[in-house]
């Protein structure tokens, strides 16, 4: 154990303090709160056994996780598209376009995420879902027979409107940050590159497409990967607009079973595994 020899006495002290603190919390939970740990119940809420149909099925926690993964994926695709548009708008030569984009970004950066989510939800998502008649349309698919593809991509179709709302709201929120990353990427390309592109007669679109963006992409990928991980974590906020993702499902589970500590720890564990796993993966890909 080489590592043990390298530890200084200060390290031991810190370790002891941390262990002591953890023990104290533990005793508080067990003693003062008189909490009974029931870890054995948890696996059943991840994957349950359907006694009638005699098959395994994804129970609440896994269902929530699936929804989290779905909205994160769809929201990041949408946020990327919006963000690229926003990034281009921020570097546009037209002042009105620049100003509008700037206003949007500044609003989003200076209002708490939670408030932004509610505003987007009530002002944009709800009217949009109503106007498109998504609710009725999704129910019809839920009742139809050939709906496996829909279920694969969007899960329970009865909850489709919430999924759309969550995705749109998250994407709008994240697009501001993606936009700033894209803008920084575009502006990091040397000014001489633009001049060279122009001097051979390229239009603004050609200059962007063939010269600036290919160079910006390389610089933008690492911060974008980071933003993607942030988006996974931010997705827990949409539980407040009734999107049935991991956090929402955990809340439900806690309310119905009182497995307070176990459920939240498992929920945290899921987020951690995904986010940490991805950050390790991205770090490896960058090399």
């Amino acid at each position: 154990m080489k590592i043990l020899n390298r530890l200084h006495w200060v390290d031991w002290l810190i370790l002891a303090l941390i262990t002591g603190f953890a023990l104290y919390i533990w005793l508080q939970i067990a003693g003062t709160l008189n909490y009974k740990w029931r870890w054995h119940l948890i696996p059943n809420y991840i994957v349950g056994w359907h006694t009638k149909r005699e098959e395994w099925f994804a129970n609440v926690l896994l269902q929530g996780l699936m929804v989290t993964i779905r909205i994160t994926l769809y929201a990041s695709i949408l946020a990327l598209v919006l963000g690229i548009g926003l990034g281009l708008a921020r570097t546009s030569r037209n002042m009105t376009v620049r100003l509008l984009a700037r206003t949007y970004v500044e609003f989003l950066r200076n209002i708490p995420p939670l408030v932004v989510i509610f505003i987007f939800f009530f002002f944009l998502s709800v009217p949009m879902i109503d106007a498109l008649g998504l609710e009725r349309w999704a129910r019809a698919i839920a009742r139809s027979e050939n709906n496996q593809i829909w279920i694969f991509f969007f899960g329970d179709m009865r909850l489709f409107p919430q999924l759309v709302a969550g995705t749109v709201v998250l994407a709008l929120f994240e697009s501001a940050f993606v936009g700033e990353i894209v803008r920084a990427g575009i502006q990091s390309v040397d000014k001489g590159q633009r001049e060279a592109a122009r001097s051979i007669g390229m239009t603004y679109m050609q200059e962007m497409r063939y010269v600036i963006l290919p160079q910006a992409v390389k610089k933008v990928i690492p911060p974008l990967a980071n933003q993607f991980i942030t988006l996974i974590k931010d997705s827990s906020i949409v539980s407040l607009i009734s999107v049935q993702e991991l956090t929402f499902k955990t809340l439900e589970l806690v309310a119905s079973t009182r497995l307070i500590f176990e459920a939240w720890l498992v929920c945290a564990g899921f987020y951690f595994i995904i986010c940490f796993g991805l950050s390790q993966l991205f770090a490896r890909l960058e090399k």
Partner: protein, 247 residues
């Protein structure tokens, strides 16, 4: 020489904020003419030639290049730039493209010629700047002198009528300057219309039809090279030549 001018500048004025960069400046360049512009730094030489292909815009006066009037917001600027090439001090090659792709992208995307034609043209001009064997390398793998020659070939590939040189050798190590100047001399001998901003007086003497000396945003002296180097009229020009010729 009474050919029609391909560049005709009348009373140009340009300001950067308070700074008066070009002061009521007029100059004509005839077709096939080689004009060398020199002068101390900050005298407006670069600004002037950057106006010629609309990388900068003058604020008053009239500028007509290749029959097209240059002003901000003109929708003929793209057409103008296709006919006026530019070689920059910092080369500005596209680092994400190979040498060959650097040369082909203009003809392919701007002039819309076929891929085979674009490649043939690119290889022909690479030959002409004496680096045919570097076609598949990336710019960062080349020396400064080679990069600048690729940049020259890139403008040539656009079949430009006029090429502007903005201090093309100022960013080069001394041993690479000549290989670039040699290429430029060959171009001059082929009759290309050239406007060069440079401090290379030996080169200027060799190729220039006309020398232009600028100082403080104005054209101070215009003369044929012989007169310019042996008997400059103005004090400022004499001072300048003194400094660059006897360092």
């Amino acid at each position: 020489m009474t050919k029609t001018p391909v560049i005709s500048a009348r009373n140009l004025d340009k300001f950067y904020g308070e700074f008066h960069a070009l002061k009521n400046l007029s100059i004509d360049v005839a077709e096939g003419e080689r004009v060398v512009i020199c002068g101390p730094s900050g005298s407006g030489k670069s600004t002037l030639i950057r106006c010629f292909n609309a990388l900068e815009y003058h604020q008053s006066g009239q500028l007509i290049v290749d029959g097209i009037e240059v002003y901000e917001g003109s929708n003929e600027i793209i057409r103008l730039r296709q006919n006026v090439g530019m070689v920059f001090q910092q080369f500005n090659l596209f680092p994400h493209l190979t040498v060959l792709e650097n040369l082909m992208i203009g003809p392919l995307k701007v002039r819309r010629v076929s891929k085979a034609d674009a490649e043939a043209t690119a290889r022909r001009y690479l030959d002409r700047v004496h680096i045919p064997d570097q076609a598949d390398k990336y710019p960062r793998q080349l020396s400064g002198g080679q990069q600048q020659r690729v940049a020259i070939a890139r403008s040539l590939c656009m079949e430009s009528k006029i090429i502007l040189f903005d201090e093309p050798t100022s960013a080069l190590d001394p041993e690479m300057i000549n290989e670039v100047l040699d290429v430029m001399v060959e171009l001059a001998e082929d009759g290309m219309t050239m406007v060069c901003v440079t401090h290379e007086m030996g080169f200027a003497r060799k190729i220039a039809d006309r020398m232009v000396f600028m100082d403080d945003g104005e054209i101070v002296e215009v003369a044929d090279p012989e007169t310019f180097f042996t008997a400059p009229r103005s004090e400022r020009c004499r001072d300048f030549l003194e400094k660059v010729l006897h360092h």
